[in-house]
Point group: C2
Chain length 393, copies 2
């Protein structure tokens, strides 16, 4: 096990109707004037936004609204939010939505206390050392952004999708009401499940040995997803399954599953170019890329894949040929994704094999920024895209 620091100071407030505590929580964490950040019309139409702002009214808290966050959140709205924060003297950001809204809010929070261009944090030119406090009301179980210090934003003019992170971005509180996720369509629900599992796999495939505790914690989240995700696809209103998935999504990304070990986020980076270029859902892109990445890197450590196959998918161990067990585990994962209704190849995703050179070029030097299992060349990345393009069950 490697040395590590683990710090997850967010207060998680979980259960039915908890969004009505937003005002109290902002007050508790010192907010006086809040930017309420959200996405499209669904938060308005469903009445969620009103319930939330009503709770701010009860506490006599001032606020300003900024909606319009799109999936794969854009830098353009972030610039707008930063201006608004400075102009209005905002001292707290409450986001109501899923990972995109939270990621946008984190970018605004960091940018509002920074004199330069906020994109410096995403291009690697500057590090985030301070940010406005953020609170969240989560509506989608997927990104884990409600419990992480991470954020991903897309630059509109280039289509570049880049991440940044800092403990300063960890939300002060995150309100999680599983009921709010019940209206999410099956496809988005499945995309969220893929994202949650990818967050675990990217920690699971490591070169660090002797990490039984974090291996087991990873497997706990994965096993939960294998059980619960098909249940919500079959019955979207299953509160209990929604609740298990929602909490699993947070556990997957606070880094409790990843401390003390190398991690490998190459497959996330490889996917970012897909959703950047085609504006497809991140989780759908992961469903295509993740198993392809697994197939390509499996020979590096077949036993690790065999462990996943036996412990998570219940495969029988082939002690003479562990590679066979490893392959069977990857097959199980791809079949599981397909059964959730997700795409498993380029055609189903809406991507084009002839774009692969462009995808590889856009990924550029970013490709190995966070490798911790297998370092990839540009040719390797192209090979993974080609596996993903042609994948079948």
């Amino acid at each position: 096990m490697d040395s590590f620091n683990f710090y997850s100071p967010t207060e998680f407030v979980f259960g039915k109707n908890r969004e009505c505590e937003a005002g109290q929580l902002i007050k508790k964490y010192g907010g006086k004037k809040t930017l309420v950040h959200f996405g499209g019309g669904s938060a308005v139409k469903s009445g969620l936004l009103k319930r939330v702002t009503d709770s701010l009214d009860v506490e006599k808290l001032d606020y300003v609204l900024l909606g319009g966050v799109k999936p794969n959140p854009r830098d353009t709205l972030v610039y707008e939010g930063i201006e608004l924060c400075k102009k209005e003297g905002i001292d707290f950001i409450l986001c109501v939505g899923g990972g995109s809204v939270i990621d946008s809010a984190k970018a605004i929070a960091a940018g509002a206390l920074y004199d330069g261009d906020f994109w410096d944090f995403y291009s690697g030119k500057a590090s985030i050392v301070k940010a406005l406090p953020v609170g969240t009301v989560l509506t989608i179980a997927a990104a884990g952004s409600e419990g992480s210090g991470d954020t991903v934003v897309t630059q509109e003019k280039t289509g570049l999708k880049r991440g940044a992170g800092s403990n300063a971005l960890r939300p002060r509180f995150s309100i999680m009401n599983p009921e709010l996720t019940c209206t999410l369509p099956p496809f988005q629900t499945a995309c969220g499940a893929a994202d949650i599992m990818a967050h675990v796999f990217e920690r699971y495939f490591t070169n660090t040995t002797e990490v039984e505790i974090t291996d087991r914690l990873c497997e706990a989240v994965l096993s939960t997803m294998v059980k619960e995700a098909p249940r919500v696809i079959a019955d979207p209103n299953n509160y209990e399954a929604r609740a298990n998935i929602m909490w699993a999504g947070t556990v997957a990304h606070t880094n409790i599953c990843g401390v003390g070990r190398s991690q490998d986020w190459n497959s996330h980076n490889i996917e970012h170019e897909l959703s950047g270029l085609y504006d497809v859902a991140h989780g759908a892109g992961l469903a295509v890329i993740m198993p392809a990445w697994m197939e390509f890197v499996m020979p590096h450590n077949p036993m690790r894949f065999a462990q996943m196959a036996t412990r998570v998918f219940g495969c029988a161990m082939n002690f003479e040929k562990p590679e066979e067990t490893a392959k069977e585990g990857i097959r199980c994962f791809r079949r599981f994704l397909k059964e959730l209704g997700l795409p498993i190849n380029f055609k189903e995703l809406g991507a084009k094999e002839e774009d692969i050179p462009l995808l590889v070029e856009k990924l550029g030097l970013c490709e190995n920024k966070t490798w911790g299992f297998v370092r990839l060349s540009s040719d390797d990345v192209a090979a993974i895209y080609h596996i993903a393009a042609k994948a079948t069950l």
Copy 2:
């Protein structure tokens, strides 16, 4: 799944030599004058205390020493510590030691900011709303106190062992260097393992249904202990096994394994009377009580025990007679404890069956304060003590 709040703001600083960062961390968390609280001579003899105070000297931080904490920490030293804090103007408490030292430090931290008798918190007369900030340098993997808001103290004159808890007691930071645990004798190491597993079992046996994610997290910690505890008994200097156990001990007790579900701490309470009366190690008492409690309550929900048996101990499921699988799981657990070198009955522990009426009387109304699986009568408690008294493999 039930509604819940989860809040674990402690910064965990894990790995070799990290104790040398104590001074920097106290400074980061605002301490100016620190009470350094510790136990017996081992922290002095090993040089650990000097390494820690040297790191305070480097940061030019003032401090006062208070040693002498015993296992099952006493109220008498807590009173002394509170006086010292008030007299010296202490604004931070750093504890160097195991669960007993941390629990004593938390009591001092709460008492130092309270006008009444600190025992009010432990007798249930008052709630802890504020406390001096606490940091820890952990030397024993067991109590989980480094990541919890809980504390247990024994009243010297009565032998009563009582607990209190508050988020205000959660350490600001906890330094965890697994190397520091390598000198711990096998018996204490095994006691720690029993305590860690008990903390999980007390969350695992619940009346809340549909808690797959927390079930799986519990099983992750338990499976890790089943693998790693025998390794440290066989080879006390196995850093990797020590590291896995140390982090498992923290995960077991931040409550990440217990949110959203009823919990049942009766077996912990039942044990407290044993260690209170005989001054035996808490973990040794748990090794005697926990399987006995399991045998007594198993008929309430055999399937839950069968799940533990199959998922943690790898027992085969007997679908026709799940009670048999449940019993086999409890047998496996007792055998596992015995193989670690722990007592499994009163005689091996040094307790007397004829004291059972006294134990039941001392436990008094405390017995069901925290039941969430099976509510016990005094007769039930007596029955559990009798099972524990006579237990064999």
